[in-house]
């Protein structure tokens, strides 16, 4: 090159000082903007993670369930008093099966007991309907009547919650061997512990709980000596006076190993009694109470008892509803969008339609519920609480979304493709359906699935058309009474028992799984469509 060499002053500098200053400012502005962006994403991620952690944390206990295994001979007298082996009668004979379970328990824990209150305490570890699955199973296979069977029943929600660490704060301690035992099981016994240190631990545990609790709450201590459980009445030095609670009714011998369960809440402040805890612990030690994966969450329908309630009916109801919604919203939406975008002449009329579609997309969903109730149920006389009506209402609700998304996708197809098709003599319809729509398909698909996802999560309009009814049967079709997942979540979240809380969170997870699945399908389909080009 023949240009003169740069003078030293110019070397290494591309501009004047003012230009450099401006440049620096610009760099700073860019950095700032980047920071804002990262901050925004950070906040979004933190919010999402918090949400997920709290839901999963709450739901984790709902995914396992404590069940009792019990062996029983299915006594024909009890199970099928009529002797006709009528499956329906057997399935309805909940009391008969309950008696089997109760007798089985009473034989183990309270042989010969006549105190009704005591028996009720024992039976209270299970809800009445816990035996329903057994009754149904027996009804399906009547030949097992009269034979010995092994069954599993769900423990009552409070016991289940206790086993999962709820109901009361607790602390387990080893107390070492006992030196000396006096008294009788009926009147109470006095026990002397060998290990002073262990007794101190027990005292301090009681003291900590007492300090923590407010009011006149007295922490309780349950003491296990061998196979027998006692309640701690008083402790003086190394000697404790105990009363019998449950388990083997033999006097413990000196040298037996002792352990204790210190509970923060006194018996009156708990939903589970001392005795029920003792029985539960005995059953657990026997291996008869086990924590299993809570399949009933997926296989059962709704129930008034949280330990028996499941999402099956709501999931199937949601699927039927979504099917109706998709059949209405997707084809109508796509054809409306194609017509408006590709064929309709632009005039006042189409402008008006466009404005109204945009407005419709912003209408609160509850309004669609009112419309559904007025038009489909009152005017057309369709039944209440059925997926057909729910699907129609949700279909109308997401129709504008599908139309808007599809139109945007169609608009994004370069006009040169239309020109190319028309240029080789394709008709307008051929150009649109051979070239424009396939190119817009990924966008249309995404829009449709986003619309469907919105419909899947809708609650309000469905409440208005009665899909909040209690549904204990899995619906067989779109005209069967049913409910949907978000409505079920809403219902469960209003349940009074503590056990509804994890149950609700678990149902939310089921719903989220569905949403993730739908989005996954959207992504896969989009990939497939896009790869073809």
């Amino acid at each position: 090159m023949n240009s003169p060499a740069p003078s030293p002053s110019e070397k290494g500098s591309f501009g004047s000082a003012a230009a450099m200053k401006r440049l620096k400012q610009r760099h700073r502005a860019e950095m700032r903007f980047k920071l804002y962006g990262q901050l925004a994403i950070g906040i979004a991620i933190v919010a999402l993670v918090t949400l997920l952690i709290s839901i999963f944390g709450q739901a984790s206990s709902a995914f396992s369930r404590n069940v009792l295994t019990f062996d029983v001979r299915l006594d024909a007298e009890q199970v099928d008093p009529s002797g006709e082996r009528d499956p329906e009668a057997i399935a309805r004979n909940v009391s008969g099966f309950n008696l089997l379970l109760q007798d089985n328990l009473a034989e183990d824990f309270l042989p010969g007991e006549t105190d009704r209150a005591r028996l009720r305490e024992l039976y209270g570890m299970f809800t009445r309907l816990a035996v329903l699955p057994i009754a149904r199973k027996t009804a399906e296979n009547p030949e097992i009547i009269g034979t010995g069977q092994e069954f599993r029943v769900a423990l009552a929600d409070d016991i289940d919650l206790y086993l999962k660490g709820g109901v009361s704060e607790r602390k387990s301690l080893k107390l070492g061997e006992i030196q000396d035992v006096t008294g009788t099981l009926d009147d109470g016994i006095d026990v002397t512990f060998a290990d002073m240190k262990a007794v101190e631990d027990l005292r301090s545990a009681l003291e900590t709980f007492r300090e923590r609790s407010e009011g006149d709450n007295q922490p309780a201590a349950l003491i296990q000596l061998g196979e027998t459980w006692f309640r701690l009445q008083d402790i003086d030095g190394r000697t404790a006076s105990l009363t019998y609670l449950a388990g083997a009714s033999t006097m413990p011998a000196a040298g037996t190993n002792a352990s204790t369960l210190v509970l923060e809440q006194s018996e009156e402040n708990r939903t589970v009694s001392d005795r029920q805890i003792a029985w539960t612990m005995l059953l657990k030690e026997d291996g008869r109470v086990k924590s299993v994966f809570n399949t009933s969450l997926f296989s059962h329908s709704d129930s008034t008892y949280p330990e028996l309630a499941g999402t099956a009916a709501a999931v199937v109801g949601s699927l039927w509803t979504m099917l109706v919604t998709a059949l209405l919203a997707i084809p109508v939406g796509i054809f409306a969008a194609v017509y408006l975008e590709e064929f309709a002449t632009k005039n006042r009329m189409t402008d008006l339609i466009e404005v109204n579609i945009n407005n419709l997309a912003a209408v609160p969903s509850i309004v669609f519920g009112l419309l559904g109730a007025a038009v489909f149920i009152n005017f057309l006389g369709l039944p209440r609480s059925v997926p057909l009506v729910g699907g129609l209402v949700l279909g109308l609700l997401v129709l504008p979304t599908v139309i808007i998304a599809s139109r945007a996708a169609l608009k994004a197809v370069p006009p040169s493709i239309r020109d190319a098709a028309l240029g080789v003599g394709a008709s307008q319809t051929q150009a649109v359906f051979h070239h424009v729509v396939p190119l817009a398909a990924p966008g249309i698909l995404t829009g449709s699935i986003i619309g469907m996802a919105r419909a899947l999560g809708e609650t309000a309009p469905l409440l208005l058309i009665g899909m909040v009814a209690f549904v204990a049967e899995v619906p067989d079709g779109p005209t069967d009474e049913s409910t949907v997942l978000p409505v079920l979540i809403y219902k469960w979240s209003t349940g009074a028992e503590r056990a509804w809380e994890p149950q609700t969170a678990a149902a939310i997870i089921v719903l989220l799984v569905f949403l993730v699945l739908m989005n996954l399908i959207a992504i896969i389909l989009r990939r497939r469509f896009e790869r073809r080009w």
Binding site: I417, V424, W533
Partner: protein, 272 residues
């Protein structure tokens, strides 16, 4: 070709070949409005068969608009209104009885920017013949595709990758693919709107060569901003200015001895 021969001796100096004397497209008193705005003022122009006619003129003078009248692509623009008559082989193409779809299968078009369908090379070419039912069976379709690609001079470059997407070709190859696509429906007229404006000189030379070859079989109209290109490839040239046809004649005459001073100014590069 059964084009109707008309007497245009007044506006057209005599030609060596009688074949070239045949008029393929005869446009009379064309006015085009975009809404209220008039883009073309009363243009009458006869285009010869088996020859290349080039439209030149400054930007915005209505070359594309006029070109698009010939295959009724202006129909797709809602605001556009075309009046006047265009006769192709004696039939008025604006007549109600003429379907624009049928017309466009006889009047192919190549656009300024290469616009292959986002499909395979094969499907790009085969699309036209398929929708017009020009080939029965795979065998015949293969032949149509091959012959179109050969005529467009693209066959040797793509014969091993017919299933590759059309968009994977280079710009020049894409434009030749578009020409092949237009040829595949065996049109009689090919309209090209600045076909080389997005291409480098080598690809341009290739296309010009191709246009020269195609001239033997088709009636070609090309819009161009390059004087050299117009001079190189066309036999007839029309100069447009502000929506009016200023001068139309043999390319040689227009470039060497223009009648109108505006034409003179434009081709010598004084404006535009």
């Amino acid at each position: 070709m059964d084009g109707n021969v008309e007497d245009f001796t007044e506006t057209r100096p005599k030609q060596a070949h009688t074949m070239s004397e045949m008029i393929k497209v005869d446009c009379r008193n064309i006015d085009v409005f975009y809404g209220d705005k008039q883009a073309i003022y009363d243009i009458s122009l006869a285009i010869q068969d088996r020859a290349v006619t080039s439209f030149i003129g400054p930007s915005g003078c209505g070359k594309s608009t006029f070109l698009r009248c010939i295959n009724r692509m202006n129909d797709t623009i809602e605001t556009a209104k075309v009046s006047g008559q265009i006769y192709m082989d004696g039939a008025d193409i604006n007549d109600h009885s003429i379907d624009p779809v049928l017309l466009r299968s006889r009047v192919g078009m190549v656009f300024q920017k290469p616009n292959p369908f986002p499909k395979s090379i094969y499907d790009n070419i085969a699309y036209g013949p398929r929708i017009h039912g020009l080939a029965s069976g795979k065998q015949e379709l293969d032949e149509v595709v091959e012959s179109a690609l050969r005529k467009a001079g693209l066959w040797d470059e793509v014969k091993d990758r017919l299933q590759a997407p059309g968009t994977s070709l280079s710009g020049g190859q894409q434009q030749r693919l578009c020409i092949a696509r237009a040829i595949a429906v065996s049109p009689e007229v090919i309209l090209m709107d600045e076909p080389c404006s997005a291409l480098d000189p080598i690809a341009t030379a290739r296309i010009e060569e191709l246009i020269d070859e195609l001239r033997e079989r088709y009636c070609i109209v090309i819009v161009t901003h390059s004087m050299q290109q117009a001079a190189r490839v066309s036999q007839r040239t029309a100069f447009f200015h502000l929506g009016k046809l200023i001068e139309y004649g043999d390319t040689e005459q227009i470039f060497t001895n223009p009648v109108d001073s505006k034409t003179q100014d434009y081709i010598t590069g004084r404006y535009g």
